[in-house]
């Protein structure tokens, strides 16, 4: 299955990755190769087969909604690339 440069642009937008023209060409070629190989899974008969998202019988886990100590504000903001007055600072959005 070949994937076009235009499809790469669409996927890159969904994935929030800005790509150069060269990168778009390169990734279109490489992703096509990989998808051609991965496409082999279509050859298997999976009628009536349930998908496995997880090998364990996982159930949702609940806990009591109780107050308890968490990370301090300083710790939470420790790695923020931009902060102000105890908050994360982001570019203007409105």
């Amino acid at each position: 299955m070949a994937i076009s440069k235009k499809e790469v642009e669409h996927v890159a937008l969904l994935a929030r990755l800005s790509l150069s023209e060269d990168e778009k060409e390169k990734f279109a070629k490489q992703l096509s190769q990989i998808l051609e190989h991965a496409g082999k899974i279509a050859e298997f008969d999976t009628k009536d087969i349930k998908p496995t998202s997880h090998v364990l019988p996982i159930k949702n886990v609940f806990r009591k909604d109780e107050e308890k100590p968490s990370l301090s504000k300083e710790d939470v903001l420790l790695n923020a690339p931009a902060k102000e007055e105890g908050m994360f600072r982001i570019p203007k959005i409105i």
Binding site: I3, A15, L31, T46, K50, P51, V55, P81, P91
Partner: protein
Amino acid sequence: MLHKLTAHELHKKLMNKEVSAVELCKNVFERIGVVEEKVKAYLSLTEEPALSMANEVDEKIKAGNDISHLSGIPTAIKDNMCTKGVKTTCASKILENFIPSYSSTAVKRLFNEDIVMLGKTNMDEFAMGSSTENSAFWITSNPWNLKTVPGGSSGGSAAAVAADEAVFALGSDTGGSIRQPASLCGVVGMKPTYGLVPRYGLIAFASSLDQIGPITKDVTDCALILNAICGKDLMDSTSLDTEIPDYTRALTADIKGLKIGVPKEFMGEGIDAKVKKLVNDALKIFEKMGAVIEEVSLPHVDAALSAYYLIAPAEASSNLARFDGVRYGHRTKQKVENMVDMYSKTRAEGFGDEVKRRIMLGTYALSAGYYEAYYNQAQKVRTLIVDDFNRVFEKYDVLVSPTSPTVAFKVGEKFENPLKMYMSDICTIPANLAGIPGISIPCGLADGLPVGLQIMGKTLDEMTVLRTAYAFEQEFGFKEKPAL
């Protein structure tokens, strides 16, 4: 020569007061000083805190307190496990300056045993790769031949142990990232059953596949480390609530009557003839020790690579969405128009090519119109593979195969061809898809480079996997060391 010894050998010396933990720590740092320039296994070294941890262990010994089997043992940690106050980069520019405010559960459990952490090891960026060449910082060399790769993604951890720059290390394994580098570097590496070691604080790649495990110099050390890191953690809802046995009880060297299956799909065309020969020699040793060997078939396992390279990138594309330049990590310095522009430029600058490829692959497989044909179909194929394993494990105790189709390949050899690189994992990926345990142990040298033997077991049957591995190790006695 202390750095050459295993954890269980060093524990005896510490208990007998033949050596102090500080002496041991200094000795390993001296070794690092000599060989690290060539190997480049570490992304960061933490000598000062290491010496103070060692000193605390010595104080405990002096005071006559009990110490654990791992107390004072110099340890390396893969750089995708959070270590409080110590930079954790995932070998990515996007986390170049990230300092976690908490430690991962596995690391915390080792700290509770008083291990001495030496530093954080190199890896493929976000654990995506099979050669450690995808590190954003530098490549690590295989100690056996510096022109070859150490495997990946836990290449730094495996190289550090092989070069005696650490007594043992932690790695993580999503599609073979512990076992394949262990194989290429001639050391022991184990991926436990999915969910046995909590993933809290392990920077997520593919959550339904990721598993932490030990890289060690022998099987005994592997069992000791499992004893320390396995077991339920409330911070990871996928960690298993199961009784943890004493894994050292598996080290009996008795495999009389053990039923070993050899999947023919793992011994086919894609496997190098020299690798196959050493695996066949190993099977003869098992037979001599009283095991019963039979060929088996896992008919759907040929689809494992394809299914994996849809499932793992799909999960990765979701997990890596958190790197947005807001709460932590790199943010672009370029002028931005809006938030989407900020995210897109930040991520383009912060991620390397392989990570971008997998994010896009996963996004594509999950996107409208392709979900059914790719992601959902891959999950159904995963079911077929799980069923294959369940069927053979009704009759056999363990499965034996090569760990890697080849010995260590040359730096650069597969770097430009992602698909060729992905083939490095054909023997290891199936165990991740099925969630079962697998170990790689050295079974000889081909052209002077190590070959690894993979032993896979039933879900939560680490005991039988370790027993089989230990029996082989005792009988075979791999004593070679790289000449560095």
